[in-house]
Symmetry: C2
Subunit: 343 residues, 2 copies
């Protein structure tokens, strides 16, 4: 660990500790000459200020946190999360801020985690996987921990918020399918307790008119497969299925083909979130890329502003792009992918 302290540097430079501190922070005027001496001494001794001492004195941890209450199994399923984190990091690294990641098994552990974070470990938190009336919202408000909500949240809250318009791409895909003559379009959603799953399901219902062909999945391949089987067994089976993520879509596609259906002739299929695999499947899977990294960057920036005392605000990241590919009968050009920005 750091053996050399600010006192060593001060001695080496022949000045007081305070002078060293000011020379580096610029909080007080220091003559150019002295500053040079200080920098030289720091360089010579290879001094790196102690993060913990700084955190204590500043009452700032220089860290933000993400707490995940998901099942490890589900975390591994998720292509959104890693890219989101990468986006967050790209902003944090500008300010030497660290990201603390916690995976907790239950609500009790989650509460403890947030408490500990609020008491000196972190300066703020990002909230993912929002649900209706999410208990964490009032809880974090109570803890007085600056927070940014990632995803739409309907209830009242004092926080900044990053959201996207998931309804537009859904409408876009359905319009596309309708234009191709599809009349029975089904939707396999994610768990409806999540606000983003429900937003997609509602957009589907609004566009289709009813939800008789809506099935609630859980984002896993197993549920995609099972619900596809269920839908295809209907007397009036759907001619197109819209899945709320690519994992379910790929499992569904695979199942449908095994049943002898050809894609997209017998069944058109669309995913959501644009998994890295999707463009390389045969047929390539139509999906919606939502640029998780952009959302991560936006969330990190909002949180930083929040920590510095800015007013909370909501930012809509408009980054959903529908990639129409072969699984919905996209025209087969030399370019395998036809992209359209959602309006």
């Amino acid at each position: 660990m750091s053996r050399t302290t600010i006192a060593d540097v001060a001695r080496e430079a022949g000045v007081a500790k305070a002078t060293v501190s000011h020379a580096l922070s610029g909080n007080r005027p220091i003559s150019e000459e002295t500053r040079a001496k200080v920098l030289a001494a720091a360089e010579k001794l290879g001094w790196v200020p102690s993060q913990s001492a700084r955190a204590l004195a500043n009452r700032r941890a220089n860290a933000i946190a993400v707490v995940l209450a998901r099942d490890p199994e589900v975390i591994a399923n998720d292509s959104f999360f890693p890219a989101f984190i990468a986006g967050v990091e790209s902003v944090l690294s500008e300010t030497e801020t660290a990201l603390i990641l916690q995976v907790v098994p239950d609500r009790d552990a989650e509460e403890r985690a947030y408490r500990s974070l609020a008491h000196g470990r972190a300066d703020g938190a990002l909230l993912l996987d929002l649900r209706d009336d999410d208990w964490r919202v009032p809880f974090l408000d109570d803890l007085d921990l600056p927070t940014v909500l990632v995803g739409a949240y309907d209830g009242p809250h004092p926080f900044s918020c990053v959201r996207t318009d998931d309804a537009a791409p859904i409408r876009d895909i359905i319009a596309h399918l309708r234009a191709d003559g599809h009349e029975r379009i089904a939707h396999v959603s994610g768990p409806l307790r999540y606000v983003h799953s429900r937003a997609r399901a509602l957009a589907y219902r609004d566009a289709v008119g009813d939800d008789r062909l809506l099935r609630e999945g859980d984002f896993t391949a197993a549920s995609g497969r099972a619900l596809t089987a269920e839908l295809l067994a209907l007397p009036d089976r759907p001619t197109a299925i819209l899945y709320s993520n690519d994992t379910m879509a790929i499992a569904g596609l695979s199942y449908a083909r095994a049943q002898g259906l050809s894609i997209p002739a017998d069944l058109a299929i669309s995913g959501f979130d644009d998994d890295h695999l999707s463009a390389h499947l045969t047929p390539a899977l139509t999906s919606v890329s939502s640029d998780p990294a952009a959302r991560g960057r936006a969330a990190a920036r909002l949180l930083r502003a929040d920590i510095l005392g800015a007013e909370p605000r909501t930012e809509v990241v408009d980054c959903n792009i529908v990639h129409f590919r072969e699984s919905t009968g996209a025209p087969q050009t030399t370019a395998p992918t036809v992209s359209r920005r959602t309006p």
Copy 2:
């Protein structure tokens, strides 16, 4: 943030700060009666000790770090990482230790990150994605930051190490394919600069006898597809391909089918790492589940021991299980998956 301090608790309980500290840490004997008073006061005031003050006084951050120098694109590809992290967390949560995650764009940023971590931010680090003569090994040794290497590392080093035997499942799969009559077995590897990719490639070469049908990929779907095309275009095309991860395998499988090959009759395919999709594809993909969470747990435990001053040691986590599924012509029983523990 934490307004109530240990001094408030001491006043409330009518004792000295030191007594509060001892009552909670148990470092000194405190009478049951006094301890009860202290606990009651702490409870009443809702006191949570400040992590930063504690970190400074203890010279311990109660945090460990993982620094990733990968491309965000590649991170999103990886099903190993999230599960690994979940395993790490399950051990850390036992001791109120936080995990700091940093994604850095280049080596310069990576060095800065490790320096800052070593100076009060973290007590130790986990090293992933090891390469030959990895510069980080001597660098971290120099920084005097307790470290655990995840993956085999051949060079000399003073650290603990978690490794797995990736050669055994490769041998196992090849033996299985041979038994089914396959003679031309190809391998699409990961980047050979990574030690784990090379270990698999070497196991393949040793089992097959030569590496004429070895192609170096980069774990992406695009490379899986491209190299599959290359292999299938050979005059003596392989009848089986072993991929070093499932993403490449699925892309390859998809391509082969589009070429009119039937799987596994015309081409047997095996992946590695057992993606959550693989068991649900049709045909289900043979793969090797390597229990990343178990490796995460082992790594976290070794690091904790290391931080507490234990001698470094190497732990071999034997958790590779080959799941023989339809893509290599597994017998089609009612149970879709036949598992065999590698010897």
